[in-house]
Structure formats: structure tokens, C-alpha cells
Amino acid sequence: MNARAARLRWARRWALAPGLLLLGLTLLAAPLLGQVYQPPAYGSDFPLIGSRNAIWIVAQVHLMFAAFVLGVPMFAVVTEAIGIWGKDDRYDRLSKEFTRLLLVAYSATALLGGLFLFLLVTLYPGLFAYLSEIFHISMWVYAGLFFFESATLYMYYYGWDRWKEGWAKLGHLGLGVLLNVWGTAVLFIANAWLTFMMSPPADVAPDTSPAMVQFWSAFANATWMPINIHRLIANAVFGGSIVAAYAGYRFLKSRTPEERAHYDWMGYVGNFIAIAVFLTLPFAGYWLGREIYEYNQQMGVTMMGGFMSWLWIVQAFLIGVLFLAANYYLWLGLGRIPGGERFVPYTKWMLAVLVIGFMVWATPHSMIADRDEVAAMGGTHHPFLGVLGLMSAKNTAVNLMILTTFLSFLMYRRANKIPTVSWAKTGTLAQGTILAVCTAVVIFYGIYGYFVPTLVRIGFSVYQVLAVLFTIVAVIGLDLLVMRKAESRGPIRWGEMPERSQYALFVLVITFTWLMGLMGFARSGIRQHWHVYEVMRDTTAHAATPALGYAAQVISACVVIFLLMIAFVFWIGGMIATPTLVAHEEPVVVPVRGTDPGPDAAPGLGLDPQPLPAE
């Protein structure tokens, strides 16, 4: 017992020495423990272009790539599904071809994301520390999701030929859906951070410690869901338009008729998805705008009426170009469909609607005018054209433009079909009636809007939108019924498309990309001189939101960088394997020729289901 006690004492004595040493070291370190490290608000300014432009460009290009890698899987899954249920192998090949590009694009996105993160940490450490203190958990989840996403992507692509038949194919499609689920989750998480910067919950004040901000209220803030939906739709549009432009490029470069036919068809599918989804985008944008107004009216006024009001004129210009280019492509496409010539005489009236709609939409409320003109007008409002500058007129114009584009698609759909159901004529008449009533409703509310208070008028745009949405759904539904078991006037002559149509696809993709940059500027710019709106102020020299012209130059730079990188991605993608062409129903050898049969060839409204007498 005694020996044991002695051993213990001995041990204690010797344990004491290192213990004391440790204590001494700790005391030495005590001054360090005493002060909490505070990250500086800003790192040193980025050389040459400045911190703001550096973060702006990298964030924007990253976002464009992110939109691409989120948009293309949507496209791939939809086309794969069409391939499975439509029993059309072309769609399956198309889907695979794009998933291959996704592999390369995915790493480019990740690299840009990493660059973005490092720039944020080094240039804006204060902001990043603040955001990470609130959102740290979601940041870990965000990073973790990438593992699942890439694993799913690899399985999706490399398993393509392995899980080909029967249930395995459906499982493969499920993988594609899963890929989209991961992508959407990633998008939603990142959106929470940036929408928090835009619309932090009302109880977050400048002196609120970030540790006290409740996670969920910051995460699901006022503009989170509208941005989620808006971006999700826009990504699908973007993915489709890039597919179309890629096809356009390959079309122009193709040497054989089979190649031309394949890429012509691919361009059409991509463009169809892009435009069809695009038609729903204004509604999501409307919701987002509503939420912004509700969150903070001053922010809403800054966005729509004040400092940013001219941005919407530029946006109107771009969207006008989109409508024109998309319809142009469709009308040119009528030339390769047997029976398409029936509709040719009507395109000019549709074009007139588009052009007038475009003019109305881009008419500014306050006009740029010199002194004499201002004196003549009695202000910057034109006494007559001024009415076109109000929301009523613009909503009416854009709804009519959407209807017109929809009509173009409908013509395209019906061009080479002869309905066989007995009530075809009645059905077509019903479709025409729905379209006419919808047009009347849109115009009625457009005009009536001038006679009611502003807030009621804002409500009218909802009715217009609902009328248009209802019309689109109802007419398509009817069309599916009318065209059941329809006879064909002959297959579409894929590949027989004039070259200039493909340039319309390039204009489309560039316009979409540029529009994305512009909207990014709008969303970020309405925060003005705040990192986190009315919570954390930007105190750098770059705090003022730049003028639109300057922003346009940065946006153009982003677009050019993105297009160059995506061209590289396509080039690499082209090296992995040569695209597989599918033998077509009818090889196309017919040279391009005129198909206008003259003005008296097509009776009726262009929706007339009667077969034409053979020429």
C-alpha cells in the first residue's frame, strides 16, 4: 500500500512538471485568446479592373455556366423521355450527345465557382464572414451535394449504353431525374444566400449579430421562391437555346445531307424547348417584381421607375429581338414542311403584330428629347404616345406577342397534317374562337386599365396572363385531340433549311446570354450601395451602382468570355467522339427551292383543316 502511495506521489510530481509547462505556454498564449479575430471588411482592391468588376465578371460567367449545367440536364431528361415513349431513337442520341458535353461543362462550372469563392474570400472577407456565420450549415450541404451530383452525372453518362433496355432504361431515366433534383437543390441553396443579400428579413438590423439571425427566416426570405422559379425556368430556356445554337453550328459545317437533316432537326428541338419555356418566363418575372414591391416599395420604385427604369427599355429591345428571331426561324421552317405553304400568306400579318407590339413595348414613358422637343411636347411625356409608355399598353403588347408566337408554333405543328376525326372543322373553329376571345380579353383589359387606379390596373395584368395561359393550354389540348390519327402530307424535309435561319439561332443564344447578364445586373443593382440591403453597407470606392452603358460593357465582356469558353467545351466534346447520326426516314437530297405557291393557294384562316388540291 505504501509503495503504491509513493508511486502515486512520484507520478504526481512528474506529471506536475509538464502540466506547469503547459500552463505556462497557455498563459503566454493568453493575450491571443483575449482578442477575437475580426476579419477585415475588404481585401486589397483587385488590380486593373477593381474588385467589383472582378467579382462581377467571375460571378456572372460562373452563373452562365451554372445555368448551362442545370439547363442541359433538364433538356436531356425531357428528350430521353420523348425518346422512350415516342419510340424515336433520335431523341435518345441527342440526349446522350448533350450529356457528354455536360461532363466538360461541369468541371468548367466548378472551376469558376472555386474562383468566385476565392475572390469573394479575398476581396470581400467581411461580407463572406457575415454570410457564412448565418449560412454555414447550408454551405456544407451545398458542397456535399456536389458529390452526389457528379456521381449521378457519371452514372448517367457512362451507364447510357449499359442500361438500355426495359426497366433498366427507366432506371437510367430516373438517374437523369435525380441529376436534376441535385441540380435544383444546389440552385435553391445558392439562391437563398443571394436573395438574403437582396431581401434580408425585416428583423435583421445593421447591429444584429449574424449569430442571432434565425437560419430559416434568412434562408426562406421574401424573394427566395420567386427567384428559384424564375431561374429554374430561365435555365431550361438557356439550355434549349444553347443546344439550338450548337446544332446551328454543326448544320452550317455539315457536308452530307444526313448530317444537315440531323442538325436541322436538333436545332428545331432545342429552339422549340427554349421558346416554349420562355413564354412562361414573364409570369415568373412578374411574381418576382410583385414580391420586391411588397418587400420594400422603395426598392420596387428604384427598379421600375427610378434609377433603373431605362434598363427595362433595353430589356424590351432584347426581348423584341428574341420574339422576332424565334418567329423568323419558325416561318423559314414552314418552307421544309409539305403543306407549310398554306400558312405563308399569314405570316406577314403576324409579323405586323410583332412589329407593332415591339414598338409599343419599347416606347418609353419619359422620352429622350432635346429642349425644343420637350417644349413642343410640354414635358418629357408625349401627349399622344405617352399612353403607350404605361404598363397597360406594354402588358397588352407582350401578351399579344406571346399569342402570336404561339400561333406560329401551332401553324408549324399542323402544317403537314390532315385531321381525320369527324369534328375536325368544329374543333378548329373552337380553337379560333378561343384565340379570338383571348385577344379580345387582353385588349379589353389593356384599354380598361387606363380608367382605374394603379393598383387595380396591376391586378389586370394577372387576368391578361391567365387568359393567355388558359388559351395556350386549351388550344394545345384541342389540337392534340383534333390531330389524333391525323394523316400526313408527307414527312418534314429536314435539312432543307436556308442557312440564314441558323444565324437566327445564334442571335437567339447571344440574346439570351446577354439578357441573363442584364437581369443579373438588375437584380444585383437594385441593392444599390448595400451588400446586404439596408443591413451591411458597401463602403468601397465601387459602392455606387454604375450607369447602364458601363454595365453593358461588362455584360458584353462576360458574354464574350462565356461564349469563348463554351465554344472550347464544344470543341473538346467533339473530340471525345464523333456524333452518331441516325439514318433518316427519308434522306434529303432535294436542293433548297422556293415554295411560295402564290397568294390564292391557301383558303381559310390558315387553320383550315381541309386538304389542298394538289398543285
Binding site: A205, D207, T208, S209, A211, M212, Y249, L252, K253, F307, W310, I313, V314, F317, L318, I368, Y503, F506, V507, I510, T511, W514, G525, Q528, H529, R537, T539, A543, A544, T545, P546, A547, L548, G549, Y550, A551, A552, Q553, I555, S556, V559, V560, L563
Partner: protein, 265 residues
């Protein structure tokens, strides 16, 4: 085939150039930068009033009692009171020969000095949670309610030279609890509303001997979720105690505070 590439490049360049041009021919304007609000610098009365108003409605916590609703715990300052006008007017008449701003300042830092009849002495001294410039901003705001603002930058004492925040100011941000022990927390935070060893404000139940009346479990719940544990006779004050102590303390701190209070027998 190179001509195709060139054509595509030309179309792309022209489209981008077109959009850039369109955005550049419209009027160019940068956004406005409002002046930065820095309490330490010389400020105009208007700016002081604005900040004071924010503090009054927000971080200062004044409206919890000085509410606009009838039957509030403390006088309504923005409305007329017994024909004497809002606070900016009646402050002149409250104490003979005392300037309005001095009266208001004193009322903020020594609330029990100038009591209004019929109201309980429940107000915590403002300098526990607010810095001197912040208090003066509130004074300016109160003056602006019906009266003329006489607070100037000269009234506001300069900030400490080394720029370190005052301890009280650190507490006001709600983040200052990290370094505090249980006794300190009770003696600084709790006494703002509870009496303890003769210190503090008689608003909530006194803490002396609380350990004998409440179990540790009840005490813990009373801190984390105040409305769930109500002492008889204090039902009217439910909802007054801040609910964020649980977030401001670490679990360890919370347990030590609960232990500290349980030991008060």
C-alpha cells in the same frame, strides 16, 4: 468552311455590339450614394433625429413600454399627454428651469429621478445598453416630437480614443455575453428587470432566494422560454422578458447561470 466561322463571328460580334450600343445611347446615370451615418463625426440635427428614431423604435427597445396603444406600461411620448403636448413640448415644463434636452437626458440615464404619476418605476437606465451618442440621438428624436431639436454635436462626448467599444455598448449589440461568467450575467443583464441584492429594477420577480422557490428545471425554462414560467402576480408582464437569452449564451453559460440562481436560497 472558314467563311462560316467568320460569318458566325461577325453575327455574334454585331449582336453584342448592338446591345452594348443601345445601352450606351440612352441617358447614363450612376446611382446616388447617401452620406454615411457615423455617430462619432459631427452630425446635423436631422441625422441625429433619424438615428434616434431608429433606436427608439428598434434597438433601444423603448416602444416595448412607451407604446402608442392605450394602457401601455409607460407614457406615450409622441402624443399629447393631459393637455401638455407631445414630449418635445412638455419636456420644457416638466422641471422648472431645466432645459428640455437636459431633462430628457437625465430621464434616460436616471429614470427614477423624474417619474410621471400613475406609472410604475420600471424603466432601466438607458446607459446600460446604449452608448452616449446613441442616447443623445434619442434625446434629439424625442425633442423633434413636437419641439425644436437643440441637441448638437457638441453635446455628444467624444468616443474613447483607442476606438474600442465601451463594455456597455458591446452588451447592446447582443453579442457581449460570450466572455461573461454567471455572476456577471446576473448582475449586468438580469438586473435590468429583476431586483437582486438591492440592485436593479423592480419589474420582474426579485431574484433573491429564487433557488428556494424555483427548481433548476423551471429556471432553465424561464430563461429559454420566459412565457412558460410565470410567477403569480406578474401575469401582466408576460412577453416582456427577452426571448433571446438562450441564443446569446452558450449551453455552458446557461447551465452555470441556472446553477447560480439555484444556489440563491
Amino acid at each position: 468552311m472558314a467563311s462560316v466561322d467568320l460569318k458566325i463571328l461577325a453575327v455574334g460580334a454585331m449582336t453584342i455590339a448592338l446591345y452594348t450600343t443601345v445601352a450606351n445611347i440612352i441617358p447614363q446615370l450612376e446611382s446616388d450614394l447617401p452620406p454615411e451615418v457615423d455617430l462619432a463625426a459631427g452630425m446635423t440635427p436631422e441625422q441625429l433625429v433619424e438615428i434616434g428614431g431608429q433606436l427608439f423604435a428598434g434597438a433601444g427597445g423603448c416602444v416595448v413600454c412607451h407604446a402608442e396603444t392605450p394602457g401601455a406600461r409607460a407614457p406615450n411620448l409622441s402624443a399629447d399627454y393631459q393637455g401638455e403636448g407631445p414630449i418635445g413640448v412638455r419636456c420644457h415644463a416638466r422641471i422648472e428651469g431645466m432645459a428640455c434636452k437636459d431633462f430628457l437626458y437625465q430621464s434616460l440615464v436616471q429614470p427614477t429621478q423624474h417619474m410621471v404619476e400613475g406609472y410604475p418605476p420600471i424603466m432601466p437606465p438607458a446607459d446600460r445598453t446604449l452608448t452616449q451618442p446613441q442616447i443623445w440621438a434619442i434625446v434629439a428624436y424625442l425633442e423633434s416630437l413636437g419641439g425644436e431639436v437643440t441637441v448638437t454635436a457638441a453635446d455628444i462626448p467624444a468616443a474613447p480614443a483607442d476606438g474600442a467599444p465601451e463594455p456597455a455598448a458591446a452588451a447592446a449589440t447582443g453579442a457581449g455575453l460570450e466572455a461573461m461568467g454567471p455572476a456577471e450575467i446576473v448582475q449586468v443583464e438580469c438586473v435590468q428587470c429583476h431586483l437582486y441584492e438591492g440592485e436593479g429594477v423592480e419589474l420582474g420577480p426579485a431574484l433573491d432566494g429564487i433557488g428556494a422557490r424555483r427548481s433548476a428545471d423551471e429556471l432553465r425554462r424561464a430563461i429559454l422560454d420566459p412565457p412558460s414560467v410565470v410567477t403569480e402576480g406578474y401575469e401582466e408582464l408576460v412577453g416582456l422578458m427577452p426571448v433571446d437569452f438562450g441564443r446569446r449564451m452558450s449551453a455552458e453559460q446557461l447551465e452555470s447561470v441556472v446553477q447560480y440562481l439555484s444556489d440563491l436560497r
